[in-house]
Symmetry: C2
């Protein structure tokens, strides 16, 4: 750590201790070393240097690479693990989190059966009802921070548990980052969508925000979910974000809550 036998090509870090306040910029935004390390690790995740499911270098290796102590790397990784971007496994290493693992299959889906646990109803059935390319309307353009006229992929699907349709979803994806994704491909794909995005398009959903309302089922809702017209449904609008906090997916879900409920924990 002391000897200057540099061999990595990492950018030099700013030792925060040397930051000087001037009258022009009174708040120089002090940033601790571990935050800078965190940023560098994030950069490697973004660039795809380490892919979902893979292990990243050991703490000692990273410490050497960034020329800081293990403790500093550790604190950076701690935060990334707390944000569910990395996964630590004692004795094995640190891994890039992924939506492909069984364990976190439905991390973003908060709807659970009233009795039993998720999965107790058997595997989810996914039926694509409709899928097409189209121009984003004003709503979608705003939600996904697109430019007006941009192309989007739109899909409508029904999720069934134990043979009963429970969720109707409309999904919008910006066409550009998902170049090569056809309506057909989506329609025929079985399995978790977010896993497909990771493996095929290097797009990783990291965080999501949901707005939840109660609405009455329209004719279309009623037909697809097989409930009477006007049945109260949970309307769940989700925007999912990637590493760089870019909105990458808009999803409008309509949940039946006669046998399921949205479960939330508040700390």
């Amino acid at each position: 750590m002391q000897t200057p036998n540099d061999l990595g090509a990492e950018p030099d870090l700013i030792q925060p201790q040397t930051v000087i306040a001037t009258s022009a910029s009174p708040a120089p935004a002090f940033s601790p070393l571990y935050q800078q390390i965190k940023g560098l690790i994030l950069g490697s995740l973004r660039s795809g240097e380490w892919k979902p499911g893979e292990s990243i270098p050991s703490e000692m290796d990273l410490a050497a690479r960034f020329r800081v102590s293990q403790g500093t790397v550790r604190k950076a990784i701690d935060e990334l693990a707390a944000e569910n971007l990395l996964l630590r496994r004692q004795g094995k290493g640190t891994f890039v989190a992924t939506h492909a693992e069984q364990q976190v299959q439905f991390r973003f889906l908060k709807l659970v059966p009233d009795s039993g646990t998720r999965g107790s109803e058997g595997p989810a059935q996914r039926d694509i009802v409709e899928c097409r390319r189209t121009r984003a309307n004003a709503d979608v353009t705003r939600a996904l921070a697109l430019r007006s006229g941009d192309t989007v992929l739109q899909a409508r699907r029904v999720l069934s548990f134990g043979g009963i349709p429970v969720i109707l979803e409309d999904i919008w994806l910006p066409a550009a980052p998902f170049k090569g994704l056809t309506a057909e491909r989506l329609a025929n794909y079985q399995g978790p969508m977010y896993a497909l995005f990771e493996t095929e398009f290097n797009v990783r959903m990291v965080r999501a925000e949901e707005k939840i309302r109660a609405i009455a089922a329209s004719e279309a809702h009623a037909a697809l979910l097989r409930v009477p017209l006007g049945t109260p449904l949970l309307s769940v609008e989700r925007i999912a974000y990637t590493y760089q906090d870019e909105p990458m997916e808009l999803r409008r879900g309509y949940y039946r809550t006669d046998t399921h409920h949205y479960h939330n924990v508040i700390n």
Copy 2:
């Protein structure tokens, strides 16, 4: 730290390094020092040694008291702060979190106006519609882990924002921990309920779980929220827990979502 000039009355800590696995108990549940410290701090919070809003001893003081290094105390406090039980303020100290502060006034309420931020509609108006002592029914008994026949306090109130009734809530509290709380007292109290619980009954809500459904407004709902019969409403059943993970409150809320929505972030 080395010299045995003990003067505190703290229990001895188990050095985990000395834990031995036997064939009878193959997994002796290794518990790191900082977890034990965390438990001791939690104990002091539970017992009321440090009350909400007050500062706890400095890290150095606690390190001396528990005869561990500052770093170990630090890690314990870090976790408690992450769980919102403590609040760190650089240069000032570490404080016991409280519901009384303006900043965290509505920490458990996830309903926000569609436009603007919470508070932009002016202060909330709380109207107690009904309040009485009664015997817990089967539902409430189970939710609050009571014994059958136990007495509970029940209240029904309406929350209005900007003069418009938005939330109807039914609240159940076990009578025992809230000894001395009368229906009248509750009805006349203005301000956040959880703050009252803290200051008057040393009951601190720390965590909550919510089950959310969509329902149609009944006649009673419709009248109190001034919406047409059958209007879709968000039904939010909340169970709030104290330090020791005891369920302490059952709350059934009915939210109008024509001008507000339930906002949730998923990490």
